[in-house]
Symmetry: C2
Subunit: 444 residues, 2 copies
């Protein structure tokens, strides 16, 4: 199917291609357009029905959106914009260079331009920046019949008319009612008698991550957004929240792997920016690792007298790092999902002590069998290695389990207390432990 | 507020507490109930209106749900079940022991029991296991007026009546229409003239992760689920998808930190189970790390003659591990969000080569200044360390960037190719490199 349309366009059979395309989902059309020649894309884009064209536009990658806007006439820009939802317009404008923004603003009416400018001023990642202003507003004195009539008159462009908001004359939010409830009630019932009051709302400046938590906690599909004077200014819908969840998770993955978070897709980020995101933590951790190196230096003569000790260093370091990462990952994730709270720190500590003992005993036993019985390492050296391994695992799990909670208590991001940092901390302590036990036990 | 109700219940003033509670959100009531004495919880639970009680029940943790069902009479069980959505009943039954399941099934009618049994047989994480059967079904010969009448008669219990499904007499899905479109059309318009056809649907056996991708790709709020004969059997709604996304992300976090994935909350998992999830990979990685140890052993005499070389081992190992983790994390995440595809492997390789060169040159330079100029390490040793560091970083980023894609190509889970495994691989190679360069350059 896709190949057929592709060939039709390549051969310049635009009218035939159009016939097939208009039955496709706009998301799929946008994906198809990514692969065709740009000049041909423009032809196709122009001959599509307005509504489909703007739907396709919404789902195009930013570089193609930019190309389209830069290539088409002012009149055409206007016809696309007229069909777009305001929040989609904002999303795309936020990524455009000044000349494109200018061309777009030139082709919008005064009211829309004012709205766009207001939206572009909301802080990034705030409710204001992800909300939409297309919602249905009712008055509490309306009857069900009047309300439905009002929706019929104004509702065609509303993104979510499943939920209607009841406001007073100053646009202060008074209640909410679902379309479902409207049609399940008789025509002459008053809105104020069936609307739900005490509605939870969010503020334009609230952080999107907090909002995502509310949606998940209460299973909301939509939430109203109010300004500082409690006037209704927009709504946030769950499909925006799905994007927020992905975005926040990506940020956590990046932070936990010692990178500066970035919202930009990997393949669309240039090498220099990728390197910039990765360098700071690599530098910090590299320099921290020299502390560990200094511990080895300090015990150089002890190591020189029993050289075989050196060969166990990677195993101790890696196992400690891995054991700590496991714990910190679970705790960071638990905090992010609000399954673990600050007050649970002692519960976590106790659990990690138990888990670390089980894990440490198992790993130490396996290790002892391997190095003493199989590799015939000296008994005292085997004991040194195993004792270090045991305490390293217990320590790693305690540090990994508690540092993220402590970070959160100090209002820092728990995700920083992940594998890389925990590994560096545990490395230093475990080597110090190793050589201390070795010098005592082996008398070196 | 919460404290007041808490005190009222503690003092046994149940009627007064009830008055406050019935105005609260059921999610908040469930949270409150978690903290009160179990016997008192039962009293409160019994005096709440049926609808609220079952809403609260849905949001209780599994251990409390179990306690409630085990404590109340059969008649009360039935009255809760009557109010529950089937998918919520299934969710809770899946976590209950046999005696509770039996008590529940005893108190449901034949039809519901048959449905429950069918649902419990759907594979875990399949569309069947997350779908709900409460949806509105219309016929294409209906007029808008008849359709709305039909919804009024049957729609009160439907979880999502915002989208209605049009089926033929054999329950084969023919089209879909939103409530919004219904009320925006005139009474005598026929459903078949305004319904949307060619609707995308999913199969009961489809994997939930694939379904989540469809929801995100097409911005769906709900999708129909059909059986092998294409008969409509249920719908999946976006609030279930939000849970799926969180669950799949948690699994990735766990796998990437070298753990067996588990859906159970950290604080609700006992120490033995937590240890079981963590042990396999720790064991595998611990034993793999002995290869790295063997490399050190092999070069023992070289190391003994230039002992200072040992002190740089942690820095080289850690930096290599961190550099590799960064790359593999970005690629694994990109693959999970379908931003990176299998065919992009060469693009990723080229990008990682560029990034690794920028990163490696910077880190190597900083390191050279530190160890040669500041710590006055011998020039040849400094050069050995820096050359190793350079190649380790480049190698780590190439391995970290490509292994996840190769894993996916081999139908394995890319998330396994994360920090811990990459670190172990890079450790061994980097130490081999280190000692090879050292023996050549220092002539030891």
């Amino acid at each position: 199917m896709k190949e057929i349309i592709f060939d039709l366009i390549e051969q310049g059979k635009y009218a035939e291609a159009r016939k097939e395309i208009i039955n496709m989902n706009v998301v799929d059309i946008a994906l198809l357009f990514e692969e065709i020649d740009k000049a041909k894309l423009l032809v196709m884009f122009r001959i599509l029905p307005k509504k489909i064209a703007s739907g396709v536009f919404t789902h195009m990658p930013y570089d193609l959106q930019r190309y389209v806007i830069e290539s088409i006439a002012d009149k055409e820009v206007k016809s696309i914009l007229d069909q777009l939802f305001l929040d989609d317009t904002i999303d795309f404008l936020e990524e455009m260079p000044a000349n494109v923004v200018k061309k777009v603003l030139k082709n919008t009416d005064d009211k829309t331009r004012e709205l766009i400018n207001r939206f572009l001023n909301y802080p990034e990642d705030s409710a204001g920046s992800i909300m939409t202003i297309e919602y249905v507003d009712l008055k509490k004195e309306m009857t069900v019949k009047q309300a439905i009539q009002h929706i019929k008159e104004t509702g065609v462009d509303k993104e979510t008319i499943d939920t209607c908001y009841v406001m007073d004359n100053n646009r202060i939010l008074e209640g909410v009612i679902s379309i479902r409830k409207l049609i399940l009630n008789e025509d002459n019932v008053l809105i104020k008698d069936i609307m739900e009051t005490g509605v939870k709302y969010i503020n334009t400046k609230d952080d999107q991550e907090e909002i995502a938590h509310l949606f998940k906690k209460y299973d909301y599909l939509v939430m109203p957004v109010v300004d500082a004077e409690r006037r209704l200014v927009g709504i946030v819908t769950i499909d925006d929240i799905v994007d927020v969840i992905d975005q926040e998770n990506t940020e956590d993955f990046q932070k936990m792997a010692a990178m500066q978070p970035s919202e930009k897709e990997y393949l669309k980020t240039n090498a220099l920016d990728l390197a910039k995101n990765r360098l700071p933590w690599l530098l910090i951790l590299m320099i921290s690792a020299t502390f560990t190196g200094n511990i080895i230096k300090k015990f150089e003569s002890a190591l020189q007298s029993v050289m075989v000790l050196a060969s166990f260093i990677p195993m101790i370091m890696d196992t400690g790092g891995n054991a700590g990462s496991q714990s910190s990952t679970l705790i960071i994730r638990g905090l992010a999902l609000e399954e673990i709270r600050l007050k649970d720190v002692l519960k976590v500590l106790w659990k990690e002590i138990q888990v670390s003992c089980i894990v440490a005993i198992t790993l130490t036993t396996v290790n002892f069998i391997r190095i003493y019985y199989l590799e015939k390492t000296e008994l005292l050296i085997s004991l040194t290695v195993c004792a270090t391994l045991f305490f390293t695992i217990v320590l790693a799990k305690i540090v990994g389990g508690t540092l993220p909670i402590i970070a959160k208590k100090l209002k820092a991001d728990p995700a920083i207390m992940a594998g890389p940092l925990i590994t560096t901390v545990v490395d230093a302590v475990s080597l110090l432990l190793y050589f201390t036990i070795a010098t005592k036990l082996l008398g070196i």
